[in-house]
Amino acid sequence: MRNFEFFEPKTIGEASSLLVQYGGEAELLGGGTDLIIGMKDRTVTPKYVISLEKVPGMEGITYDDTNGLWVGAMTKMRALERSSIVRERYTALAEGAEEVGSIQIRNLATLGGNIAHGSPAADTAAALLVLDAQVNIADGNGERTVPIADFYLGPGQTVLQAGEILTGFSMPPRSAKSGSQYLKHKIRQVMDLAFVGVATSVSLSNGTVADTKIGLAAVAPKPIRATNAEAIITGNSVSDNLLQQAAGAAAAQSSPISDLRCTAEHRREIVAALTKETAMTAVARAQV
């Protein structure tokens, strides 16, 4: 690792000023599990590293029935998977967090880092998409909120501007008749990057699906919603035939690449299979 100056600002404003002052030569540090890898192989060589650990109010999980869930950007994956409210009501997010690396990695890795890194394969991205997450962004002078679907621009690229910091994620309250699931296709059970990740969330009303959201990871330049598949399910009662159609639509809307690990055609088949499976599970979970 090249050497760098290390800062531990105590406020968002201070962190933001440092980012502005040092521009492209500075990197924010969350848990470091992406950044330190980059610094070790020298694909990232910051002269200034600005840790967010000492900025108060950036870590934690809060919930109430009116405002829903808030998760601070510095919250560790391990805290998410252990949170009972996240497990019960925002299940896909707990499952996404639990898929990241190992326990040792999840005790370091933060939700903010997973998303700010901009990886199309980030394991929490599909869940945040289907749980309607809003991304809270601040720069010390003001705050803005961006829907997670608009946060990503492309691989490694996000809407974060110079001096901006991702502070947290808000998700609306979820009805008792809602359910969600995230599934990741991988070869090794632990510590493997997603070949494909799919999250589905539904809410039911009078035996039909009132709302469906399907999020796909690792099969497009950024995490995307399978809106055509969602439209097929929403407003209907679930049948095998319906889910089969939706699965096909999700596969068609994905644009995976072929690489050493897997062909694009195979990735599309996995998108279809996981779409069907997560939709069935989400509906089953909504019914209990």
Binding site: M1, R2, N3, F4, E5, F6, L29, G32, T33, I36, I37, M39, K40, V49, S51, E53, R78, G101, S102, I103, Q104, I105, N107, L108, R188, Q189, V190, M191
Partner: protein, 159 residues
């Protein structure tokens, strides 16, 4: 580059050091403090050989900066036994032969200790999954799993 003053405990001993920001916690533990029980396998977070416990939770110390340990409590493999008495997980690895070359062993023991401290009743399948961040190139894992199961039994009996 400016070194940073940090102060933290390792196995209960206060360490007050000046460290370069680029040094990982693993490098600080091994090279600066001289506790070489913690091993460096991959240095990319994948193998778990460098596992230590920070504020009660296991982490890969190759993926954490030393400066980030400031104010925290770190436990390494050197810090889990009592004088003349091994930790139940260490004892079980010894009795079950849960190692061959031994390089992965400190990391496995720290990960298993943290896991069993959290839940000594953990079912075997969950335990195997939870230890997925630790890699062994020698044993084929059978004896390691036997050791952790046996340690769990001891820790349940002691609880």
């Amino acid at each position: 580059m400016r070194k940073h003053p940090i102060s933290f405990t390792v196995n209960g001993d206060l360490q007050e050091l000046f460290v370069e920001p680029r040094k990982t916690l693993l490098a600080v533990i091994r090279d600066t403090i001289g506790l070489t029980g913690t091993k460096e396998g991959c240095s990319t977070g994948d193998c778990g050989a460098c596992t230590v416990i920070v504020d009660g939770e296991p982490v890969t110390s190759c993926m954490m900066l030393g400066v980030s340990a400031n104010g925290k409590e770190v436990t390494t493999i050197e810090g889990i036994s009592n004088p003349g008495e091994l930790h139940p997980v260490q004892q079980a690895f010894l009795e079950k032969g849960g190692y061959q070359c031994g390089f992965c062993t400190p990391g496995f023991i720290m990960a298993a200790k943290a896991l069993l401290d959290d839940n000594p009743d953990i079912p075997e399948d969950e335990m195997r999954h939870a230890l997925g961040g630790n890699i062994c190139r020698c044993t084929g894992y059978t004896k390691i799993i036997e050791a952790v199961l046996s340690a769990a039994e001891t820790m349940r009996a002691n609880a």
